[in-house]
């Protein structure tokens, strides 16, 4: 196949303990470490491996949101992507608008495969890949932990509630990946230098002619109900007694 398109979302790093703003208008993101959504790193790694094994000739990374996400695209280029497309919007748009924006890039670039993360760790929605596949009228293989390309088809193993499911899909298609599909490579310093010279196109979401989807109004953000620290017991006998006390054994 010619091209693989990979989505990279800029999110609060997974090590950050996210806090809700005291006025309930959102979560604190000022001065917080931002990273590529972990699942998207796996998506890019998978695309790079397919290319390195001769299965594709170009890997394109795309991000949608505030232009700061160019940092994450540069990291993607340093990992080995060939070029990047930044679709700027004031805020990261809702899933359906993202899917529509990705579709317009898909129509322009005609990739043989789109690989996305199975969910973003900020909104935990797990929607964009499925929505893109729907709008494109192409197969989706979500929650993938194994992907094998064979000509015009792919065999994908998916992590589902009862275990593993294997499906076969015709290409082009959308695959969303789980963390277990691979171990993303580390970026080396020379690669970061090289990445600065790779092409990064910037487009405004507004210029893509994408229709804004009916959006939700987020009226309040609150911390979750906290669990309280309980008691410590000294030994197994104490544990059994405490469980009996609660009627649990």
């Amino acid at each position: 196949m010619d091209k693989i398109l990979v989505g990279l979302k800029r999110v609060v790093d997974y090590n950050v303990r996210v806090r809700v703003k005291s006025d309930g208008t959102g979560v604190e993101t000022d001065g917080v470490k931002m990273s590529i959504n972990p699942f998207d790193e796996n998506a890019l790694e998978e695309a790079l491996r397919i290319k390195e094994n001769g299965g594709a000739s170009e890997v394109i990374v795309v991000s949608i949101g505030p232009s700061e996400a160019q940092q994450q695209l540069r990291t993607g280029l340093a990992m080995g992507a060939d070029r990047a497309i930044m679709i700027t919007a004031e805020e990261a748009p809702d899933s359906l608008t993202c899917a529509r924006a990705l579709l317009s890039i898909v129509e322009r670039e005609q990739p043989g495969l789109v690989i996305l993360g199975k969910q973003a760790i900020d909104d935990d929605n797990s929607q964009t890949g499925q929505m893109l596949a729907a709008l494109w009228g192409r197969p989706q293989a979500t929650f993938a932990s194994e992907l094998a390309i064979d000509g015009d088809t792919a065999t994908v193993t998916r992590e589902v509630d009862i275990g593993m499911e294997t499906i076969e899909i015709d290409l082009p298609a959308v695959v969303t990946v789980d963390l277990r599909i691979n171990e993303p490579r580390y970026v080396k310093l020379p690669d970061i230098m090289k990445a600065k010279k790779k092409p990064l196109d910037e487009l405004a979401l507004a210029d893509l002619g994408v229709e804004q989807a009916p959006a939700f109004a987020h009226t309040n953000f609150a911390p979750p109900a906290e669990r309280e620290r309980g008691i410590m017991v000294d030994d197994v006998a104490g544990l059994v007694a405490a469980l009996k006390d609660k009627g649990l054994v």
């Binding site: 899933s95 359906l96 935990d124 797990s126 499925q130 729907a134 509630d161 989807a213 620290r229 410590m232």
Partner: protein
């Protein structure tokens, strides 16, 4: 009045317990009429089960050999054809619903509400974000159909015993052949199901090997409990992926959760927030798991677990 269509998850023979929980969520919406849609190769048994759920007004079936296995690309166009007149379309937030419902939403031209944990009004819902570190309240636009998945751990299954009418639907939809089911590798287990069990025993990286997991199975079997694991234990190959609990695994709400050799990372804790009692066994007294545990025991699991199994 709200008219809610619930997409039934099933394995061809039996209804998934996730459906009775999804019905419980839908029933929180005032004056709701709730219909359940069963897409199957042959729907009778599953439909009869769905018809017995309290609060269900009608069960609709779409039978087609192509519906033998739940492929989102095949099911979605049929569901879209059946949604006419409904104000809401709900599915469970299991891998079945998470795969399928966004495809339905996109075809209907709307965003999806993922993981409803609380219904605040017919178009107002609460859902967890940032691995459960925040809860957002959102309003879906009233002029559009609401497509949503339900965080099943937030709801208790409705009871059975009713008998709603079952009707078969004839719909016209073009079904793609570009997606084909090949096989399922399910860990054959006669232990209780992780997502519905009253008690769950889970182990983390500290268990150290696949063989050592037998200690956990022995304890679980003594208690009649299901077995879970942290991502680290799954990644290390000590147990299969379907046992993973957490942000990217299963979200569960057992009465009793015993975390053994699990540090308590936020991504793990988000999977057990609604557990009744959390017990933590960890050799590190400072482990974050103790901050949320109702009962903590500091010590070496290799000593404690066999002793506990014997004591019960």
């Amino acid at each position: 009045m709200s008219r809610i269509l619930i997409i039934a998850e099933h394995d061809g023979a039996a209804l998934s317990p996730s459906v009775a929980k999804t019905v419980a969520c839908a029933a929180q919406i005032d004056a709701a009429q709730i219909d359940v849609l069963v897409l199957a190769a042959s729907a009778a048994d599953v439909a009869a089960e769905a018809a017995s759920l309290d609060g269900v007004n009608r069960v609709l079936t779409i039978e087609n050999a192509a519906n033998e296995k739940p492929l989102a690309a095949v099911l979605a166009p049929q569901i879209v054809a059946a949604t006419e007149g409904y104000s809401h379309v709900f599915g469970p937030s299991t891998t079945f619903g998470r795969d399928l419902m966004p495809r339905v939403a996109a075809l209907l031209g709307v965003n999806q509400v993922s993981d409803i944990m609380s219904v605040e009004g017919s178009h107002t819902f609460k859902r967890p974000i940032y691995a459960g570190n925040a809860v957002v309240t959102l309003d879906a636009p009233a002029e559009h159909v609401v497509v949503a998945t339900v965080r099943t751990a937030s709801y208790k299954a409705v009871a059975g015993g009713s008998s709603a009418p079952v009707e078969s639907l004839a719909i016209e939809a073009e079904l793609p052949s570009h997606t084909r089911y090949v096989s399922t590798q399910a860990g054959a287990s006669d232990r209780p199901d992780l997502q519905t069990a009253a008690a769950v025993v889970s182990a983390g990286r500290a268990i150290g090997s696949e063989e050592n997991f037998d200690l956990i199975f022995a304890l679980a079997d003594k208690m009649g409990a299901a077995v879970g694991a942290s991502r680290a234990a799954v990644d290390a190959g000590y147990c299969p992926n379907e046992m993973q609990v957490g942000q990217t695994g299963k979200i569960i709400a057992p009465d009793l959760y015993i975390a053994i050799g699990i540090s308590g990372a936020i991504q793990h804790l988000t999977g057990i927030k609604d557990a009744g009692t959390i017990v933590a066994i960890n050799k590190d007294e400072e482990a974050p798991i103790f901050e949320v545990a109702d009962i903590g025991l500091a010590g070496d699991l290799f000593q404690i677990v066999p002793e506990l199994t014997n004591a019960l």
